[in-house]
Symmetry: C2
Subunit: 421 residues, 2 copies
Amino acid sequence: MYALKGNIIYAAECGELTVVQNGHIGVDGERVAFVSGTLPKAYQDIEVKDYGDRLIIPGFCDLHTHAPQFENIGLGMNLQLLPWLNQLTFPTEAKYADKAYAKEKYAHVISEFYRFGTTRAVLFTTVHEETAQVLVDMMEKSGICAYIGKVNMDSNCPEFLCEDTEKSLAETRAFFERNKDNQNVKPILTPRFVPTCSREMLKGLGKLAAEYHAPVQSHINENLDEIRWVGELFPEAEHYADVYDRYGLLNDKTLMAHCIHMKPEEIEMLAERGVYAVHCPQSNVNLASGMMPLKPMMEQGVRIGFGSDVSGGHVVSMSEIMVLAMQVSKLRYQQNPEEGFLSFAEAFYIATKGGGSFFGKVGSFEPEYEFDALVIDDASLGKNGESDMIERLSRFVYKGDDRNIVARFIKGREIQPPRFD
Amino acid sequence: MYALKGNIIYAAECGELTVVQNGHIGVDGERVAFVSGTLPKAYQDIEVKDYGDRLIIPGFCDLHTHAPQFENIGLGMNLQLLPWLNQLTFPTEAKYADKAYAKEKYAHVISEFYRFGTTRAVLFTTVHEETAQVLVDMMEKSGICAYIGKVNMDSNCPEFLCEDTEKSLAETRAFFERNKDNQNVKPILTPRFVPTCSREMLKGLGKLAAEYHAPVQSHINENLDEIRWVGELFPEAEHYADVYDRYGLLNDKTLMAHCIHMKPEEIEMLAERGVYAVHCPQSNVNLASGMMPLKPMMEQGVRIGFGSDVSGGHVVSMSEIMVLAMQVSKLRYQQNPEEGFLSFAEAFYIATKGGGSFFGKVGSFEPEYEFDALVIDDASLGKNGESDMIERLSRFVYKGDDRNIVARFIKGREIQPPRFD
C-alpha cells in the first residue's frame, strides 16, 4: 500500500468535479483505498509519493481507434468516408498481413498511448488474426489496458482484405480462446461495419457474442452515403441499428462509434440495450461526416465515451478530443439552443469515468476503483494568482500537451515508457 | 547573399502548392532572390545552409489576436461573447495599466509567437497607451514583425477601462507619431468593436485613418446578441459593416475579425472596399459564436487571413488553426454541399500568403518576397515510403507541433529565442 499526494481532481458524477487540494490518494494493490485531505490515522506509515503542487487526475479512456491507421495520421483529409476507405485505409491495412511490419508500426501506436496518457483503449486491428495477436502481446507487456479486435469483413471490400466467412469466424473464435483469460488486454468482436458484413457473418458473430458474453465494437450512422447503402443492403431492417440488433450484437458491452445521423428510434434502442455511443469528434469533422447529437443522446440516457478514431481522427490526445467535443457541441447549440452544450466538467467525466465504465470500476478515484492516474505538471502553462484547481485543469486540457504529463499509473502501478525488442 | 537548401513548399496561388524537392532558396538581404532545383550558375559561391531532408515553408501570419489575453488561455470557456468580456476579459485587461505586469506577460506572448512559428502578427493590446508601447518596444527587439494597436473604447464598458474620447484620440495620435517609422512593428487603429465606441470616437478614428493612411482592425458580426445590440446603438446604419463604413474605417488596410453572421450586402461591401475578413475558428467555436461563411466569402472575392484570437481562441499554433478552419468548413459543407469546403492547399495559402499580403510581399517564396521561413524537421512524425512532400507537410500540420520547427527566418535573418531583461 502507498499514497500519492498532490492536487486531486476527478469526476464521480457527470458534470461535477471533485477537488481535493493538497490531498492524498491511498492505493491498495490495484485499487483506490481512500481519498482524503490528510493521511488517515490508520495509514500513517505507508509510503507517500509527494507530487507537490502538481495535479493528479484519472487516466484517459479511448473507446474507439484503429491501430493500423496510426501511420496515416494527417493524410487523406480531403476525402469522405467511402472513398477514404478505398483509396487510403484498405491499402494500408493490407500491409498488416506482415508480422514484422505490424510489429514495428504497433510499437509506435503503444508509445503514442503512453505519451498522451491514454491508460485504457479499445482498438480495431485488421482482418489478420496473426498480427492482431502481435498487438495483444505487445500491449499486454506495456501495462496499458485494452480491448483488441480482429476485424471481420467478407463483403463489399477489396479482394486483398475480403475474408472467407467460415474462416473469419473460426479465427475469431481462436482469437477469443487464446486471449479470454489475459490480464490486461482482452478480445472484442469487431465486425467492421454493416456494409462489409454478410448476413452469415453477422449471425456467426452474434452466436460468438452470446457464447462468450463477448464485448462488441463497430460503427454506425457515420455518413449519409453509408446509411443509404446499408438501407439497400438490408432492406428488411427498420434502420441501421436494427441490423446489428437482429443479430444480437447490441448489448451492454457494445461500443458503437459515431452515432451522427440517428433516428429517434435508434437512440431509444441504444439507450434500452445499454450500448455505448462512442463520440469521435475529430474524425467526424475531418471526414465531413457531421455533428453527433451528443447532448440529446446523453439526455436520453445513452452511455457515452470518447474515441480518437485514428486516422479519420488525427489526434490521440484525449485532451484535444475533449476540447473538440465541446466545440462541436457549441456549434450545435448555436443552431439549436434548446440542446444546451457540453460543459468542461461533462467532457472530463466522459474522457475518464464515462469511457472507463466500459472496463469496470475505472476512471474515477472513488474507493475500489482501479487506480489509473496521470500526474500533471502545469508549471510551464503560466499561472495566475486567482487560478483555482479547476481553472488549472482547464488550462492543461486546452493549452497543455504530453510534455505536461509527468507520471502515469495503471491498475495501481506506475508504468514506464514502452520498450520493444 | 546566401541560400537555404531543403524541400521547399509554398503557395503562390490559393489552392495550389509549389514543391521544389531538394531545392535552393536564394536570399538577398531581406528578400527572396530565387527558388531553384540546383544552385544557379551566377550564385555558385554563396553560402548554402543545408537543411537536408527537412521541409522549408513560409512563416505563419496571425492577423488577429489579443496580447493581454494570453494569460487567460483555457479559461472561461463555458461563456459566450458578452458575459465572457465582462466576467473574464475586461478585469484582466485592467491589469495592463501596470508597466511591470505588462512587461512580464508580454514577454510570454512574444515567446509563444516565436515557439509556434508565427513570423507576422497583428495585435490588440489594451486601452493603456503606455503599456502598448512596452509591447511595441519588446516586439521590435524580437525580430517578429507586427502591427500593434492601442485599444479605443469610450462606451458601454466598465468604468475602469472606459476612456475619455478626446484623451483616447490624442493618445492614439501620439502612439502613431512615435511608431510610424518603426522598422518591424507598426501602429494600427484599434476601435474595440462598435458597442464600445461612441460616434465621436469612430469619427475621430476615421479622421486619423485618413490622415495617416492608417491600417485599422476591429471585430464584426461575431455573436447574435452583439449584432442586435449594434442595431439598437446605431439605428441609422444599414447594418454592422455600415457603421464602420460611415466613419471611413473600411479600406484595403482594414482587418475585420470573425465575419460570422454576414448579410449579403456586408460581404459585398467588404469585397468592394478590399477589407480583410479574419477567420478565427478556434474562438468562434469556443464562444459558440457560429461558423463563418468562409468559402462563400472567398468565392465573392473577400480577402482572407487567419487569426488566433487569443483568448476566445486557445491556440497560438497556426497549424492547429488551419486544421480547425478546414474542419469547420467541412461541417458547413455537410449542411450546405453547394459551398464546397476549404482544402488543405487553400488553408495553407491563407495561413501564409493570404495573411502575409497584409504586410506587403510576404508569405511566399516568389522573387522579391520578404524572406520569412520555417524549417520543419518531421523525422519524429513517422514517414511512409510513399510520402510525397505535400503528404509530409500535411502530416506536420495535422500531427506536428512546435518541437518540429527547428529554425525561423524573418526578413532574411534567422531569429533566436526572444530574451528580455
